[in-house]
Symmetry: C2
Subunit: 202 residues, 2 copies
DNA sequence: TGGAGAGGAGAACGTTCGGTCTACTTGGAC
DNA sequence: GTCCAAGTAGACCGAACGTTCTCCTCTCCA
């Protein structure tokens, strides 16, 4: 049986330790490179405990991505909750992304990295990646639509394209120029998106 | 001893079969997911033959990336050899990239995928990725410098950022919109790069 | 003619993989 | 006081991993 909480309805400590350790190791070292042994040793639980909480490694990976998804969703939701102007909302999201890239320990996009290791579209891990990406594209498209101006979809695709480039490569060279390039690109995109709005789409 | 050619100086057939098979499998299924067994079986050679030509799997991976590097370098060199105007050269390079993304079997950037699996900067595979990326950035920067206009380096970083985004995600959804977004982004970048040139840098 | 290189065939190495199992301890709820 | 879930400890499974080994054949070239 899958155990989420203990008798008193609290989240199991072993489970959260397991998930936190798996998240850290999967993210920093890659998924296939990290074995079950490493996870249980560093989480200081036993193998039996891991398999009491998760059916197998694949499920643990999906939970890892769900945790990454929740973390980023939390940031975006907090920004949306400010109910700022649409363009400022997008600037704040871009800033949050750049802040992540700049932060120590940044190792690229957890989802793009996972997709690189699980190319099979039928695999649950790959599906989790696609689900996250669709959510993000939808949010950006919606906020851009609120901003008015040129059609939202192409602009959103451009926003996401630059985000993906920055996230994929922010750990392969000095992150600062990459963040600058990304933020400037977003700013130019937003300028164009609204400036050309009263002259019709390009 | 590492064998590159047979007695008559020809490239060994077994070696090229090995490398071609490894390239195909590593690219389409990921590196860690493909074992030595799969490679020797599908290349129709024996394990002993593989280890006669390559010291180990890591070296095979590096050769795989070198082959990918040579393939793309060949395309870029052919474009450079046309000695077209700088902007047209960059358009042609962008077109070649888009063509790759559109082509069946596209599975993302071999180098970004490899970096996702080998995050350790000290690892030979990771180093091979960085070397390729530095070469590409240098080429783009040089051609952009020839074009004149705004400073070449920021523009080149923007070009590479969009390329990376397109390459990383071109296999995660319909490639056509991604190519369109990428090519339009490059066109806008080039327009801006030369148009603003006589008014000074932004 | 013979030696050496290239390759085939396949057993075997030790390690690690993901996953299962049994036996024991602990601590709170009824 | 009893029961049961949660967790510990660690042996164990078959399979796959990367790697090495021996032995055989073929085909050049000296």
């Amino acid at each position: 049986m899958l155990v989420m909480t203990n008798v008193r309805g609290q989240a199991s400590e072993a489970r959260s330790k397991l998930l936190a350790t798996a998240t850290r190791l999967f993210y920093t070292e890659g998924i296939h490179s990290v074995g079950i042994d490493r996870i249980v040793v560093e989480a200081k639980v036993t193998r039996a405990t891991l398999y009491r909480h998760f059916p197998g490694k694949d499920d643990l990976i999906v939970y890892y991505l769900q945790e990454a998804d929740h973390a980023f969703r939390g940031q975006v939701d907090a920004i949306l909750a400010r109910k700022a102007a649409a363009l400022d909302t997008l600037r704040a999201i871009a800033e949050a992304i750049a802040e992540g890239i700049r932060s120590p320990g940044f190792r690229g996009c957890a989802f793009l990295n996972a997709a690189a290791e699980y190319p099979d579209p039928a695999h649950p891990v790959h599906k989790a990646v696609l689900a996250h990406r669709e959510w993000f594209s939808r949010v950006i498209t919606e906020v851009l639509a609120q901003a008015g101006g040129t059609p939202a979809e192409p602009a959103a695709r451009c926003f996401v394209l630059m985000r993906d480039g920055a996230m994929a490569t922010g750990c392969l060279s000095d992150p600062e120029p990459i963040c600058e390039t990304f933020l400037q690109g977003v700013e130019d995109l937003l300028q164009f998106h609204v400036t050309v709005s009263r002259r019709g789409p390009r």
